[in-house]
Subunit: 445 residues, 2 copies
Amino acid sequence: MTLSVDLKNIASFVSEEELNSMMKEVTAANETLRGGTGEGNDFIGWLDLPSNIDPDELSRVKKAAKKIISDSQVLIVVGIGGSYLGARAVIEFIKSPNYNLKKKNTPDIFFVGNNLSGEYINEIIVLLGDRDFSVNVISKSGTTTEPAIAFRIFKGLLENKYGEKEAAKRIFTTTDKKKGALKKLADAKGYESFVIPDNVGGRYSVLTPVGLLPIACAGIDIDRLILGANNAMEELKPVSLNNPVCAYVAARNALYRKNKYIEILACYEPSFRFMAEWWKQLYGESEGKDGKGIFPASVELTADLHSMGQYIQDGERILFETIVNILNPNSVLRVPNDPANIDGLNFLSEAELDYINKQASRGTVLAHVDGGVPNIIINIDKADEYNLGYLIYFFELACGLSGYTLGVNPFNQPGVEAYKKNMFALLGKPGYENEKAKLEERLKQ
Amino acid sequence: MTLSVDLKNIASFVSEEELNSMMKEVTAANETLRGGTGEGNDFIGWLDLPSNIDPDELSRVKKAAKKIISDSQVLIVVGIGGSYLGARAVIEFIKSPNYNLKKKNTPDIFFVGNNLSGEYINEIIVLLGDRDFSVNVISKSGTTTEPAIAFRIFKGLLENKYGEKEAAKRIFTTTDKKKGALKKLADAKGYESFVIPDNVGGRYSVLTPVGLLPIACAGIDIDRLILGANNAMEELKPVSLNNPVCAYVAARNALYRKNKYIEILACYEPSFRFMAEWWKQLYGESEGKDGKGIFPASVELTADLHSMGQYIQDGERILFETIVNILNPNSVLRVPNDPANIDGLNFLSEAELDYINKQASRGTVLAHVDGGVPNIIINIDKADEYNLGYLIYFFELACGLSGYTLGVNPFNQPGVEAYKKNMFALLGKPGYENEKAKLEERLKQ
């Protein structure tokens, strides 16, 4: 199998019996999920998404990416939450966090609409300069505050630069199939429009046009990404601890029951940083409800062994780690020999960095286990599109199963509304007048 | 005062009485710290560092920065943990996370030696290309594996490009005053060398040449940074809840006693991301020991309100938030009016983004408090050198006090050795033969 899960390093914390017992709950969760009988069952379209992608839609995505690559030096992607994290994570992991700095035949890609910082947007406008650009705006409704503001700004820039008619050919919307403000605008102006399926929530949407269009614009092979997910879908069905998905779900829930409240996702490749951010949304938003859920955190190793490493080794014993271990490196680099050997490192002369990285990883797992931190290891072959597609589906499926095992609806996010309601009231949005007065009163105290 | 701490939003979780009671412990911690009577008292040089910086050393730092700016298009900074986080955090916060992408009169800056990824280093070599460059290598000992390997590589590239003699003028070491492999090499080769004071640990070193040289190379005003820290040092001495440092320390320790195990540092400016990473090292490494300590985490807002926001609002009630609130924005941007108003945002037409950002922040605090999450708010005037220097000293002082209040030595990091020992053994470092056999046996099981 492309991916494996190693539970050896939780053995001193969770017994085989406990794992088997937890598997009964995972089995029930699997029935709930696949039977479509659980809460949130109108949002399980991601489950067979990899085999359900409409070939016409996919070829429109590729055609749009081809056009953008050919006529744009910059792509501005407008979106927040699931409408940017997946694309950014995949681009950074496959191409590099330094993607924009690299010489390449594909456009620079900037993500906007994911904050309310004027400073941030002003800087992107400067970085854009007078280069040719296109905009991909991603929003189910078209009315979410952050992306809607950013879209007003960059749509304005496009129309000023190219005129309304040509600008319309440079705006690509990814939105609802039929309804909503953005769909309405796209229809009125003739923007090319891609569909966010009704039964796929934001955090599960990276393999829909939400993620696929920006990812394709970075020159990433989306067919391979989908193939990996598709094979994962086929291979990860058995309900058994031999299925890495079930192993991961059973392990993390067993650990949570033992008051391991925090899961730290770690990788020894710095390019994984935003994959961890994507994972945090997936798990935090799916499980963090009803006063429950594992708190998702992340570290970048070995860097953070010289930072959070101390806490992991010796702090509150309320955490466990999940390591994404990439078995084969994409490139080779060897430690140069130095006859003077002033740093004492000649025992590593000519050693491959990846070999040293792996020993650091192996040694760290043992050290952390000795310190009281259970470690789950997820192995993938290499950092490429196929393996990443596989890993994405693995994490999605595990998340759905894990949420049902925990006893929550893994597919809603009711808590996200609370801040929005207050923000609208404080901003004086029509209809929120009473609420505004109450909040201002509280803020005065 | 430049900085204030607002505890209004913890009032429903911690009573005034409890805060006052905690202040007694903070008072004792303050005596221990300032009296130099606590564990780790040989590492409290940061306490009066801002007024103790040797003017000659400082002018050498500026002169070196001037030379690097004049003859280098790229600066390679080699360091791990405290030897890179502070500089990277300050450069991203003051200049931008996109610093390297910007047109500027100062060199691109790449941080290496903070991981063991060959892929990562190979990419930096490509990005460096044939541009003129210099290297600043930062290591107390000169033998830490990650930076020592990276230094071998980039020193080799420099010597190949310029010859050994000219390369020596492009290598700047920041290391021990007298001893260690790197100091020995610097003396032998005639590298310009800066001093890491003996009584300042890595995570407290950003205002020593460790941080100051790379920061100055980015064109940041280090005098203003130091002035801010110096004024913080003067103003943050009173032992009272009116002192924001004491307020922060008392509040977070009182919350921890109530099983709020996780502190999430949040900011509404994306440029703060690496300041949060710096803060995580400072607090995680200082407090995470003896099975104790608050787990430091971070989010970027409003982005992560559409990610971790759900968990914060509704998940396990074991966390609190600390918001760094920047009162005045550095630049202005207004929401464009759109006569069609398809997104329904015209109630915000011509509103400043920072105003909207602030209402999001105010609304979120209330929503999270209602959800059971205490919020501490730290206000600073703006994102500039002076305020940042002030904030850095604030966090350092609070960390030292907090560690003693918790009952740990805030200035050591014994847990960092555990992984190193295992790694050396697995790598076959001479002297670790017995350990290696034992570890390999465990790994086989």
